[in-house]
Every structure is written in structure tokens, then in C-alpha cells.
Subunit: 413 residues, 2 copies
């Protein structure tokens, strides 16, 4: 069984609003394992709307429309549904009664255009809308279910939850159960990750698997479909174990985890404190760490050493090291991490120095060259990266690399 969403309204096609209704409906239907296979948006044009409704009925069993139920000239959803399926529009007394009650309550005269909202395609099930004047409808026609909801997000959401979802569940009691899981990874590029789990993907016909790269991490989304929630969870648990074997420490978390949250938990658990010394990231690492509520438990602070002078004066990076190796170098990253550890009296110090560009590169030290150092009281490790793309991406990736380096350090302690 497939569902489809049709968003109706010039405001979407004019670019005035982003259609967030479709996304909301997709998520709600997913809860009862109804897959949306198609989403479209059309303007307030009767001919196009009729064509779309007819096409949708050829593709999908359940069609949910949003928008076009209001009182104005351009609200034509009911009349278009009627024409698409060769039905008459008939007055629904309960809709008129609700309209009169609602509008009388706010002492507004009932405009003739309002009355339009009380005429629905013959045979429809009229859904009274306590959140507005326009009723919604459910129309069952030739094994198809057409649901027309208002476009105002609050009204749409309430009617969907309170009236449409219970209707769909009672009409289709055999819907399967879908359960989803997100596996979050760091440290492997998307294509390498894909190659590592290709066989896993191809062998799992019981799962729908997607890989999504975001600026923060690369996620594997697993969707399992089964007769019961428990069965779906068993499939997900098995797949998660397989992915753990395949990906090991590249997996840093699940669901809503983030690197900053994971390192926060690890630092708190191990009772360790952290400080950061940032050059090219200019505060981005500190910002990420302190985005977590309660990070003051383990984060002491940091030094943004955006000039050689500050590296020397506030971090104690020796003048001759800066002179000999340059600000972007392995020994300077090392001295930054060690320096910030000492100055902030923390257990762990991280130092980042690099060339974010677009200017400032050279053949020996190109844009994207970044050194990240991690120091504790015993030793200091430095990693060298050659990152790609624009200034902001290089800074963002440096920050994520530093967080992942810290995570790997903490789990191997």
C-alpha cells in the first residue's frame, strides 16, 4: 500500500513558503508503516489539480491533499476533487452548522464565499474542523482513499492526528510495523563507508538502508518492516551488530547522538577536564563543545590564538619554534595543546592550527593543511590533515576531526 501527498497552493510555487506539511505527514504515516512514494505541489489551477488527482490515483492507494479549503476564489480543492471523480458538490448541513457557530461566535458576518466551504463532493465523509472554519474530508472511491486537509499547519496537524490517523488504522488493520534506527559514524568518507558496507546493503532485503552525509557526520539509516514492532526491532538489532563488526570505532553513536554529546558523556564518566587552543577554527571547537548543556562540568575554557603573538604570550609556544617551523606546523600544534592544558589546568588539551584559506597557502603548506594535537599529562599526539573545499568547510571539518580524535582517545583510555 502506497500513499502520496499533494500540496495545493500558489504560495508554495511562488516561493513564499517552504512546504513543511508534506514532511510532517510523511513522518506520521511512517509510524503506521505507510510509505509515501510521491510528493507533489501544484498551484491553484483547476485543470492541473484535476490532472494531478487523477494521476495520483493511478499511482497510489491513499492520496492526502493539503490546502485549498479556504473561502477565497483560489481555494478550489473540493470542486477539483468533485470534477476529477465526476461527483456533484452537495451541501453538508453539519459543515454549515459548524461554520455559522464558529463565525457567529466572533461576530463576523458570514460572507457568501464562506458558504462555499460547506459544499463537499457527494459521498464524502465530512470532517468537522474545530480549529478553523473549513471542514476536511475523506472520500473513498474505487479502492482509493482521498483525504483533503487544510493547509494551515496547526489545523492540518491536529486533524491528521485526531481524525485521519485513527481512520486509516481502523480501515487497514493489517498495516505492517516500521521501525527505524540511525547509526552515526565519523572518520570515513561517504564513498569509503559505502564500499565497506556494500555487501551488507545488498544482503539485507529485509531493510531499507540509506547513507546520508551531513556537515557533522555520516549517518546510516536503517528502516525495518515487519508484522510487529518486536520483529522489526529484532531485525534492527541484528543489523546493528553486523554494522558494529564492519565499522568498529567509526560508529560513534545512534539516533540523536552527536560527537560533542558523546565526548561530553565520556569526559564526565572518566572525570576528566578539557581545554582547547584554536587557531584556524577561531572558536568553533569551543562553540561545539559548549553547545551541550552542562558542559561546564568538564570544559574549562580555551584560548583563541589567532596570532603568533597570542600563541607565544598566552599559550607559551616558544618563540624559536614559531620562527623555525611556522605557525602551521606539527611542533606548534603540539605546543598549543600542551600550553592550553597547563594554562587552563585541565587534564586534556587540544590544539588546532591550520590554513583555512582562501589566501595564505603555499606549495609546501597548501590551503587545507591542518594539524590537530591532543595532549594529556603523559604524552601528546599530533595528526596532520589535508582538507578540501572552502574556508568554512575546512574549519568545520577540522572541528569534527578534533572531536573524533578526542573520542577515540577517550574510548581507548
Amino acid at each position: 500500500m502506497k500513499a502520496e501527498i499533494l500540496s495545493i497552493g500558489n504560495e508554495i510555487l511562488c516561493g513564499n513558503i517552504i512546504d513543511t506539511n508534506a514532511n510532517y505527514i510523511i513522518k506520521k504515516l511512517k509510524e503506521i508503516n505507510l510509505t509515501v512514494q510521491h510528493v507533489s505541489a501544484v498551484g491553484d489551477h483547476e485543470k492541473e489539480l484535476i490532472a494531478q488527482l487523477q494521476e495520483a490515483c493511478q499511482r497510489s492507494q491513499i492520496i492526502i491533499t493539503t490546502g485549498g479549503l479556504g473561502p477565497t476564489e483560489d481555494d478550489i480543492t473540493f470542486q477539483s476533487i468533485a470534477k476529477a471523480f465526476g461527483l456533484k458538490l452537495v451541501k453538508y448541513p453539519e459543515a454549515e452548522e459548524h461554520l455559522i457557530k464558529t463565525l457567529t461566535g466572533v461576530s463576523i458576518d458570514i460572507a457568501p464565499s464562506n458558504l462555499k466551504q460547506t459544499f463537499l463532493p457527494e459521498g464524502s465523509h465530512c470532517i468537522i474542523n474545530p480549529y478553523g472554519t473549513a471542514p476536511a474530508l475523506i472520500l473513498e472511491k474505487d479502492d482509493r482513499v482521498i483525504v483533503a486537509l487544510p493547509g494551515v499547519p496547526l489545523e492540518m496537524k491536529n486533524l491528521l492526528s485526531e481524525q485521519i490517523m485513527p481512520f486509516l488504522q481502523s480501515k487497514f488493520p493489517n498495516l505492517k510495523q516500521m521501525q527505524s534506527r540511525i547509526i552515526r559514524t565519523s572518520g570515513l568518507p561517504e564513498s569509503a563507508l559505502n564500499d565497506k558496507i556494500k555487501d551488507f546493503i545488498n544482503s539485507h532485503l529485509d531493510l531499507n538502508i540509506g547513507i546520508y552525509a551531513t556537515p557533522e557526520d555520516i549517518q546510516i539509516q536503517l528502516n525495518a518492516l515487519a508484522n510487529t514492532i518486536e520483529e522489526a526491532e529484532v531485525i534492527l538489532d541484528g543489523a546493528t551488530e553486523q554494522l558494529k563488526d564492519l565499522l568498529g570505532d567509526y560508529i560513534f553513536g545512534y539516533e540523536q547522538d552527536s560527537l560533542e554529546k558523546v565526548i561530553g558523556n565520556l569526559l564526565r564518566e572518566k572525570k576528566l577536564t578539557l581545554a582547547v587552543a584554536e587557531s584556524c577554527t577561531g572558536g568553533m571547537l569551543g562553540e561545539a563543545i559548549t553547545s551541550i548543556a552542562g558542559s561546564s562540568d568538564y570544559f574549562k575554557g580555551g584560548i583563541i590564538s589567532y596570532s603568533g603573538e597570542i600563541k607565544e604570550k598566552l599559550l607559551g609556544v616558544p618563540h624559536d619554534i614559531l620562527q623555525e617551523f611556522g605557525e602551521v606546523s606539527e611542533p606548534v600544534a603540539r605546543a598549543m595543546a600542551e600550553g592550553v592544558c597547563k594554562k587552563c589546568n585541565s587534564d586534556i588539551g587540544i590544539g588546532i592550527t591550520g590554513i583555512a584559506g582562501p589566501e595564505g597557502g603555499s606549495p609546501e603548506k597548501p590551503v587545507g593543511l591542518v594539524y590537530i594535537a591532543l595532549a594529556d599529562s603523559n604524552q601528546t599526539t599530533v595528526q596532520k590533515y589535508q582538507l578540501r573545499r572552502d574556508r568554512q568547510t575546512i574549519r568545520l571539518r577540522s572541528t569534527r576531526r578534533a572531536l573524533n580524535m578526542l573520542r577515540l582517545y577517550l574510548i581507548n583510555l
Copy 2:
């Protein structure tokens, strides 16, 4: 002439992401007066994708797809376009060259899946993508123009602006000319801004005017449609002058200006240096300032004083002031700004201390209380704010307030 947008990817139909690309493309096409009559989203299923491409060609002259150009198994846009129009996939050497160049630069082995991206439908115009590995394409076929763009928003936006828009304008020279201008403001809430320019909006029937609040600023977008670019520019110039009279210093810039860029230019022009001391923002202000290339000309660095210990030790905030007034207080903000100025040897110092929440508030000092101080060698000014919403928004707004405070200080010097 009608255009249509086809968003491709399971991530949209799974509800993982809201499709914001379509909205962006609609707005860009509107600039050259091209109307989008249909938007649809389909999953990574070849059969459905082919059917949609063919239907789209029956409805619209210009079809723009986003997504499905990556290296993974589920990226099938090129092969589906080829099948939809009965074309062979052929290797484009320039695409392969770009891929090798891009991946070699970072010493990553080229996975076999990457090479898929270099095969395009025969007859396509290959658009090299400097922002990623996947090329885009333009295919002209039977009076239809098919454009396939990546789904990653940054890549899509850059390729659309830099390559696709000029192509469409030269191919269809009789399109009306839309010219847009963005006026950026800071310091006035959206509703107050709206009230100030209400009469201006109602008097300008020659303009389409939108007000958009982003986390960074509030923008006024002016769109003028005319027969020539020159005519449209004259309308925009007049409107801009009127807005300058109405809004004065609330306007900080135009088009792609940002507060961090504007303060960078002012600091460079006035040959002044800056340092920051951050508590609740945890590095966010430093990150914003250093997001501008060349910011090392005027930004010396900063201290993230996330604990009282660091405020005392590294910023020299007196112990008794911390004890008497607490970490979030006017005297501490003042001492932070003055301290960082001295420690970093800068002309100007900014100090931010506040309660970002969700924990840590009290009746006297509720969540959202933020003090921002600005010090130079002569004097220190402190502003107190009571900000609303969640932790990250409070941090973001503190950062923007600090940047705007610095801007107003610099233009009044």
C-alpha cells in the same frame, strides 16, 4: 514557458529532511520571471523516476532535478535520465579528470563507485562542479531543457547561480528582467521593523517586498520586475534610498553582507585590533569573526573563560568581584572585556557572560540574562539583555548583539 522541479531522494520521502532546495530554485527562477508550475519529490526508484521525468516533459519546458548524483548505489539520476530519453551513458573525460584531481588532492583512493559519476547521458552538457565530485548536467532534448543538479544545498545553489542561471538567460533572452536587492538590518525586532516600513510597503506597487528573519539578521528583500535590468535597478535604487531614511543605522549592509564582514571592514579601515572574552557563547563570537577570510589582519584572538577559575587566572577578573557579583554580572563582563584587551594587547576588547540554560537560572538571574561589554583604552560600555528561547538561540543572539554593538561603536568613532 513553464518550469518544474523534481527532487530526488529517499531522504525526502522518509521524512529525514525537508526539501528546501525546491523553494530556493523557485525563488531564483522567479528572478528571471520563470514560473514553476509543479514540484514533485520521488524516491531513489528507477522506474518511478523515469515515469516522473517523462510526465514532467509533457507538462513543462524546463525540468530541474536535484539529488541522486552521488557515488552510492542509490544515486541513479543520470542512468534514469538516460533511460527516460533512450540515451546511452558515456564517459565524460572532463568529469573523470575533475574527479581524479579532486580526490587525489586529498590522497584518497578512488573508489569504483566514484567513477559512476563520470558517465553522463549522451549529448549532455557536462557541468563541472568545483564544490564537490559529482558533475551536474544540462540536456537539451526535443525542445525541452533538463537540468540535473546535486542535492547538497551548497553545491546546488552555487551551480545554479554560477552556471544554470546564465545559461537560461542566454537561451531565453526574451524573459522579463527581475532584479533583487537585499537590505540587511540588525537591532530592530521583526514586528517593529514591519511597523516602521508599513507605509513604504503599501506605497510601492512596483515592488514585491518581503521581510525575512534569520538567526543572523533581519532582511528586507526587494524584487523589481521591468523590461530591462536598468529600469529595474532604478526602481531598486529609489526604494533603497527611502529605506535608508526610514531605518538609518539599523541597516548594516546589503546583499551578501554580514555583521562579521562589516565589522571586519570597519576595523581594517580604522586600523584597530580586536580580542574577545567569551563565557556563555563558548567561542561562537570568535568563530563568527574568523569566518571572514583575512580576519587575522584585525583579530588577535580570545579567551574562552568557561569557568570562574579561567576568568580569574587568564583574564585577571578580580576574585572579590566574582565572589560579590557572581560570574554573570555587569562588573564581571566589564572586567572580562578590559582583561582580554590587556592580555591580547588589542585596541578593543569584548566580554560576554550570560546564562544560556536550560539549567543555571534563578529568579534574580533567569536563563537568557546576558551582559556584553566593550572596552577600549578610554572607556568600557556594558549592555544588559534578557534573551528568550533555547540554549543555542540565546548563544546565537548574544553573538549577534555583540557584533552589532561593536558595529555601532565603530561607525560612531
